[in-house]
């Protein structure tokens, strides 16, 4: 048993304790902390519970295990703090490491007595209920459990009561897993599917790969929260895990309310550690989230993990490093921040799971750069790691262009790989997208020229490019997150919208090269701008009509 020799901020120095790096410790009767550094016989502990009231000499005991989270069917549809304690128990929050789940969940065995099973195998199903909704999700043998099924019985159990006896192990519906350790799988698989989001600018021009990584950086006031909530709601992942890391309490309440009313709650797990909840747990919440997401991945699902925001996680690391007197690198962040970030994002990907299924984990995270300045370290480190970066620009937001995606600097590394998808929806769309993407970049350039020389001085090609760029922006890129139809666009509709605008561009170019005239069809443009708010069927027939009006059959 060790004892405290020093206290500063959330960091304790402790002597004579029996613990390894990253082991959990109990401080006094109720306090919980984690060993983050060892120097000789001195241990540095970061504390998850309040530090106030602790004193030198207080006993500290190593718990012999790292920080773990309980993974099980109780996670579906519920709300937890950053370390997995249920938030639904009392209105005033108190940090604790106990999940405190007492309800019983029905277990249906899927393997017979006497069969041999491997690590991570599906041994049964848990029945989830919420209101009238009912869903079954697999119950996995923990990754370290294997052997002959000696006993297994269906029925209603608490989540930590054994439902089976396998080899030398007693297995419950839930098991614990250390949050800082990636869960094992057989091998990495080559992801080749698009993660549709219903957000036109993303699906068309910045497509996300299932199993990929994504950041959404943006200063305050650029519509980041609304954009993210819509992204979260409509992304076509089978399971979604949200981590509110150091963000606003009222916005989390709004999000929780939306999720409750959305009817998809059973496919979601929500961890929230708002900005006034313990700092150190904010750091851990991101790892707890990715561990839960991996657990769903191991069931063979396509999973989306959303972090809001990565900056708060990095700041928590910076605060702890500051107290530890770590020599800072950029902007006060410790030199190891980028390595930690890489390690974290590397937990995304498609894998062949231990039980032979394919599961994909996509990680998406917002970034909140100070003063909206993208040159700061967290944005830069993350942008160097991820597959997609969707930068939100405050100036566009002021100009009421929502989502305020800055197409000049945003990127998707999987654009070419995923282009084929669009041809399976409607042949020729991939080519149209390529053409329109050129128009976006050219159009932004011409817009700058126009500001200097005036609209009349532009060449005819430039006039056409600018006209189509603006049409594209109003019709496709701008999307009203609050409009019941416009807020989500399915692929068929998006492909039709893309193709008709591209056709209009060809029409203008043809007309000019053949007859040397320039005549914009204002009525057709106006109709195209209204496509977003039309139901898919109506949109498709409208597009057909517009093709006719342009002289194409």
């Amino acid at each position: 048993m060790g004892y405290i020799t020093g206290i500063e901020g959330y960091i304790l120095t402790v002597k004579d304790i029996d613990a390894h790096l990253y082991d959990l410790v109990r401080i006094g009767d109720e306090g919980i902390g984690e060993v983050i550094s060892i120097e000789g016989r001195t241990y540095f502990i970061q504390v998850f519970t309040p530090v106030q009231g602790l004193s030198v000499g207080e006993k500290v005991e190593g718990l012999g295990e790292p920080l773990t989270i309980q993974l099980g069917p109780h996670l579906a549809g519920h709300f937890f703090d950053g370390l997995g304690a249920n938030l639904e128990l009392q209105p005033f929050y108190k940090p604790t490491l106990k999940a405190k789940i007492t309800k019983r969940i029905e277990f249906i065995p899927k393997v017979k007595k006497g069969r041999k099973i491997n690590k991570g195998a599906v041994i049964g199903e848990a029945v989830l209920k919420m209101g009238k909704e009912e869903k079954h999700i697999p119950v996995l043998a923990p990754p370290n459990v294997f052997g002959k099924v000696i006993d297994i019985k269906g029925g209603k159990y608490k989540i930590d009561e054994p439902v089976a006896e396998i080899g030398v192990f007693k297995v419950a519906m839930s098991h614990r897993w250390p949050i800082r350790k990636a869960r094992p799988y057989v091998k990495h698989a080559w992801g080749n599917n698009i993660l549709l989001t219903g957000q036109r600018i993303i699906d068309a021009f910045l497509p996300v790969l299932k199993g990929g990584t994504l950041i959404i950086p943006g200063g305050f006031g650029c519509g980041k929260t609304v954009f993210q909530h819509n992204f979260a709601k409509f992304a076509d992942a089978q399971k979604k895990v949200f981590v509110g890391c150091g963000e606003r309490g009222n916005e989390m309440a709004d999000f929780i309310e939306q999720m409750k009313n959305g009817g998809e709650l059973l496919d979601a797990t929500i961890l929230t550690n708002t900005s006034n909840m313990p700092l150190v747990a904010r750091e851990g919440s991101v790892y707890a989230g990715v561990t839960i997401a991996e657990y769903y991945r191991d069931m063979g699902y396509s999973v989306l993990l959303m972090i809001d925001s990565l900056s708060r996680w990095a700041e928590a690391i910076r605060e702890v490093a500051g107290i530890m007197k770590t020599l800072p690198a950029e902007a006060g962040y410790p030199p190891y921040l980028q390595a930690r970030m890489e390690e974290f994002f590397s937990r995304a990907g498609c894998v062949k799971t231990l039980n032979g299924k394919e599961g994909c984990l996509t990680i998406s995270s917002s970034v909140s750069p100070p003063s909206g300045d993208f040159s700061e370290p967290v944005t830069q480190y993350a942008a160097a790691i991820v597959d997609n970066a969707i930068f939100l620009n405050t100036e566009l937001a002021y100009a009421k262009i929502y989502p305020a995606v800055d197409m000049e600097i945003s990127f998707s590394k999987h654009k070419n790989q995923l282009a084929n998808y669009w041809d399976t929806i409607d042949k020729g769309t991939a080519k149209a997208l390529q053409q329109l993407e050129y128009i976006i970049h050219k159009g932004m350039e011409v817009e700058k020229i126009e500001r200097i020389v005036g609209a009349d001085a532009l060449s005819t090609e430039h006039k056409i490019t600018l006209r189509v760029f603006r049409l594209l922006r109003n019709a496709v890129l701008i999307q009203n997150a609050f409009h019941p139809i416009d807020r989500y666009t399915e692929p068929k509709k998006l492909a039709a919208m893309i193709n008709i605008i591209n056709l209009y561009y060809s029409y203008l170019i043809n007309l000019f090269s053949k007859e040397h005239t320039l005549s914009f069809k204002e009525d057709i443009e106006e109709d195209m701008e209204n496509l977003g708010t039309m139901e898919t069927d109506k949109c498709l027939s409208k597009v057909k009509e517009l093709r006719g009006r342009l002289g194409y059959v």
Binding site: V51, Q90, F220, G249, N250, A253
Partner: protein, 434 residues
């Protein structure tokens, strides 16, 4: 308040580095309040670091004039304040002691000033508006019960006048128990004088508590004032069912004291000398608002801060913007145009507004915004190359925008406009745009 009799252990100081002193063998807990005994009186401090038998103590009243002979003793208590409904109608110091010549408040409940954390699961989504009687707030950037909206101002604007007006006028229609808590941080002599004058002239009424931290008070006290005020507000809200509006500021003064302390402690600083924990620290203040489902009582915050050099990207407004649910921006530019309160409505925002307003208000406010933005656009062009280049339609927008500046966005210091009146004025002006 602090119970002096319980203090027992006496130790002497080993070093002094304003505002931190070091003592040996104090036998204190982290966060304990200690008393430093000097010949001329007592000062209070708090244990902010322990290393074996060495204790680091932050002295709130400053270390000026201290020597190593000063004696120090422990109270074995965190910083607490006695709260009670009797605080309503009182003017108190930044530490909660009487400043109005009346006797101290007794028989209250003792509360830790670090307050409560609401579980996000139990938070109610803000949906009910508080009327402040100010058109640019009520009609265009509604303050919603349970939220926090910060007010950012250019240096030297008469924000205090606006705050006093809001303090006097605010109402929540559904609530019989509406209270206002005001926390002045680093108030100048003139500002305090103004507040006392207001109190004498209008009487702050039975529904308010004023905590006044003056710039003459020891600077460390500024770190306690918002927490003490919020502790009182939380008691009224969560234990007594009041709907409390908390006005506080200047948060830039607060942040500068925090910066000073960090630098004295030799801590890592990140942006313009502010410590790495500026975000966490400000969040621990701003997040102390909200409403709980199925319970009476709420806290709504309107913190105010100065934007140094009018710079909204300065660390204090920038950090605040990431926590606050919108912002009211008051600029010298608007004041120079004769708009008072000088709110730049185009850059102001209330994120929760759509939860709280009627369809009619939503429509009217959007029309005002649209018309005003158009007018502003043409006005900017006219300012550059003259009014003559504008066509009739554009000139009309400019005229309407100017009329909005004059009669909709401007109002007198004593003018309490109901939301209904604001909507009516807006509609009248919008008619001319049609």
């Amino acid at each position: 308040m602090f119970d002096w009799r319980k203090a027992i252990a006496y130790e002497s100081l080993t070093s002094i580095k304003d505002p931190v002193v070091v003592a040996k063998g104090l036998n204190a807990n982290y966060g304990d309040v200690v008393v430093v005994e000097l010949q001329e009186g007592r000062r209070r401090g708090q244990v902010i670091g322990i290393h074996e038998d060495i204790y680091y103590i932050q002295v709130f009243e400053g270390t000026e004039g201290m020597s190593e002979e000063a004696r120090i003793r422990n109270t074995f208590k965190p910083i607490t304040i006695e709260v009670s409904e009797l605080m309503l109608g009182r003017v108190l110091s930044g530490l909660g002691e009487p400043k109005d010549g009346k006797p101290p408040i007794k028989a209250g409940k003792e509360k830790d000033i670090n307050g409560l954390i609401l579980s996000p699961y139990y938070r109610e989504v803000p949906h009910e508006l508080i009327e402040t009687g100010i058109t640019s707030i009520d009609l265009l950037n509604t303050l919603v019960k349970g939220q926090k909206i910060a007010m950012f101002a250019s240096p030297g604007l008469a924000v205090l006048e606006l705050q006093m007006q809001i303090l006097e006028q605010s109402i929540l229609n559904s609530s019989k128990n509406f209270a206002v808590v005001f926390a002045g941080i680093g108030l100048s002599h003139d500002e305090e004088h103004y507040i006392f004058e207001q109190i004498e002239n209008s009487g702050i009424g039975e529904r308010s508590i004023l905590f006044l931290n003056s710039d003459k008070d020891p600077s460390m006290e500024a770190l306690l004032t918002p927490r003490i005020a919020l502790t009182a507000a939380e008691y009224l809200a969560h234990e007594r069912g009041y709907d409390v509006l908390v006005l506080m500021g200047d948060i830039t003064n607060y942040a500068n004291v925090l910066r000073n302390l960090a630098s004295q402690k030799g801590e890592l600083t990140v942006r313009e000398g502010y410590p790495s924990y500026l975000f966490t620290d400000l969040a621990s203040i701003y997040e102390r608002c909200g409403t709980l489902q199925g319970r009476k009582g709420s806290i709504t915050q309107m913190p105010f801060l100065t934007m140094p050099n009018d710079d909204i990207t300065h660390p204090v407004p920038d950090t605040t913007g990431y926590i606050s649910e919108g912002q009211y921006i008051l600029t010298r530019d608007m004041l120079n145009k004769g708009v008072n309160p000088p709110m730049d409505i185009l850059n102001s925002l209330s994120r929760m507004m759509h939860f709280a307003v009627t369809l009619e208000q939503d429509k009217v406010s959007k029309q005002v915004y649209h018309t005003y933005a158009e007018g502003k656009k043409f006005q900017d062009i006219a300012n550059m190359i003259g009014m003559d280049v504008l066509d009739e339609q554009a000139k009309k927008f400019v005229r309407i925008k100017e009329e909005m500046d004059e009669s909709l966005l401007s109002q007198g210091k004593d003018e309490n406009r109901t939301l209904k009146q604001s909507i009516a004025i807006a509609k009248e002006i919008l008619k001319k745009a049609a």
